[in-house]
Subunit: 294 residues, 2 copies
């Protein structure tokens, strides 16, 4: 009853007429005012076009892994990935792409051995707490549009490995990966990778172009034969693409009242289909809304 | 340090020589004694063969949803699903199959309106607790080889919606679904469905045959055109299949010492790749080991 009342009050605040029909998460997103949306910088959008016609768009997170992200931008700008492919698809885990086992030299501007950007300082991040226990970290929540885990005591925060998160492939430590080989999560959140790998962003459009690929039959989901690799036409920054073809996106500000309501509704589904609202939700089951910008 | 010592002690108990190399979850499974494995009754295995050659095997859970599971067995035995197809594939959610929108009469032995088997009594279940907080229920753990959520106070338990879980499609309540339309989870665990739908089992082989299908482009992932539907050749119980072709499986007893060690190692990855063990794990990130029986 309490959450019903809160929902109605929040709906009123948002200018949504209270109705008998209870709000769904989609209703909240549709009703969020323009002021609750933040445009993504086209220089933080990595656009991967596949030979099969599919397009995958990744939002980069320079504020969480600045050196790795700077590398990725330098690689994109120098057309480093010409001839690259998706060569590993492991069910309920990851799809991975790049120039696997190539010894192509790094272009100018790439730091060959970046620091281990697996966490960042919590300082400077205004966190909207999830409000429910997280088994992987003392705290979980959202900051600057991203799902994060954190420790107030330890002073650290990390981007969480959720569905569609993008990370940097690496060899055994002390290797930290460079950014030439990237993976996207295509299954249940592998949160055990948190703080062990540099997470550099998330797929915001076209994750289905990766998740629906045939699984590789070799160990770790590598394709057995290189002919099975999925060819990549180009990987560019949106900022390099002519304006007419340039995709533009915005995300729901995780510090907004709309996001707070969205989070509450995700944790307490009251709409028609549901009989028993969970009264809780896990971090990766609260996808931060991202949409095409008109 | 404490968990390292415990690992070594447990390794000794299992007859595994303690070594410098730290155990992976796979090592634990490979080292589990024969006594830790339980054979799955062939009458609890639903075998779905696709026209494209793929096979999907579902383990049914009669102890959690007896009427729905009895329905599914009656449907399989009567070849009810002749002409069925996979008609809905929604990214990061579910693949769903059956005779969508057919008015084929139910065969003998099918209860048209089963009770809402969304929970069962906790009584009679020996639970191995997960040991970490679950945002969806007061308790989480494992019983009879299944991941469950439960309330000791409320006296209920439910099968959790994890990757590869199989549930019964239904319309709005009071409909409870019959079992003719089934779905499998192909993305991050949609635990908000827990206690709102009858979960009847899990895919134990061939989930990739569902997860790698093209996503439907209509609302909720329905295929736009029926020609896109993925045809099903047959859905049978393993017990109906001639012995030579009959698949046989076993699962790691969730009450065994081996499973306890597996759970501990899943929560504390110490092996070569990992720098920082999480010190925790979520229910659906601990897949109960299931394997082909020799």
């Amino acid at each position: 009853m309490r959450s019903l009342l809160l929902l109605s009050a929040a709906a009123l605040l948002m200018g949504v007429a209270p109705a008998k029909k209870l709000l769904t998460p989609n209703d909240v997103v549709a009703g969020a005012p323009a002021s609750a949306w933040k445009t993504i910088d086209p220089d933080d959008l990595l656009v991967m076009d596949l030979k099969n016609g599919g397009r995958v768009v990744v939002q980069l997170a320079p504020e969480f892994a600045p050196v790795h992200v700077a590398n990725i931008k330098a690689l994109a700008r120098s057309s480093y990935w010409d001839g690259a492919s998706i060569y590993r698809v492991q069910d309920n885990y990851v799809a991975q792409w790049g120039l696997n086992e190539s010894d192509k030299p790094w272009p100018k501007g790439v730091t060959a051995k970046p620091p281990a950007e697996y966490t960042r300082t919590l300082k400077g991040l205004a966190v909207k707490p999830l409000g429910y226990a997280d088994p992987y970290a003392p705290g979980a929540g959202f900051a600057r549009g991203w799902p994060i885990a954190y420790s107030a005591k330890g002073g650290w925060a990390n981007l969480a490995h959720c569905y569609a998160s993008v990370g940097v492939g690496r060899d055994l430590s002390p290797d930290t990966g460079t950014g030439g080989e990237l993976y996207a999560v295509i299954g249940h959140a592998p949160r055990h990778l948190d703080r062990n790998i540099a997470v550099v962003g998330r797929v915001i459009e076209g994750i289905d172009k990766l998740s629906s690929l045939p699984r590789g039959t070799e160990a770790l989901g590598f394709y057995k034969d290189k002919s099975q690799n999925v060819r990549i036409t180009s990987i560019r920054l949106a900022s390099e693409i002519p304006a007419a073809d340039r995709p533009a996106f915005e995300y729901l500000d995780t510090g907004s009242a709309s996001f707070a309501l969205y989070l509450r509704v995700r944790a307490n589904r009251h709409d028609d289909f549901y009989i028993r609202p969970a009264g809780g939700v896990d971090l990766c089951n609260v996808q931060v809304p991202v949409r095409r910008k008109a």
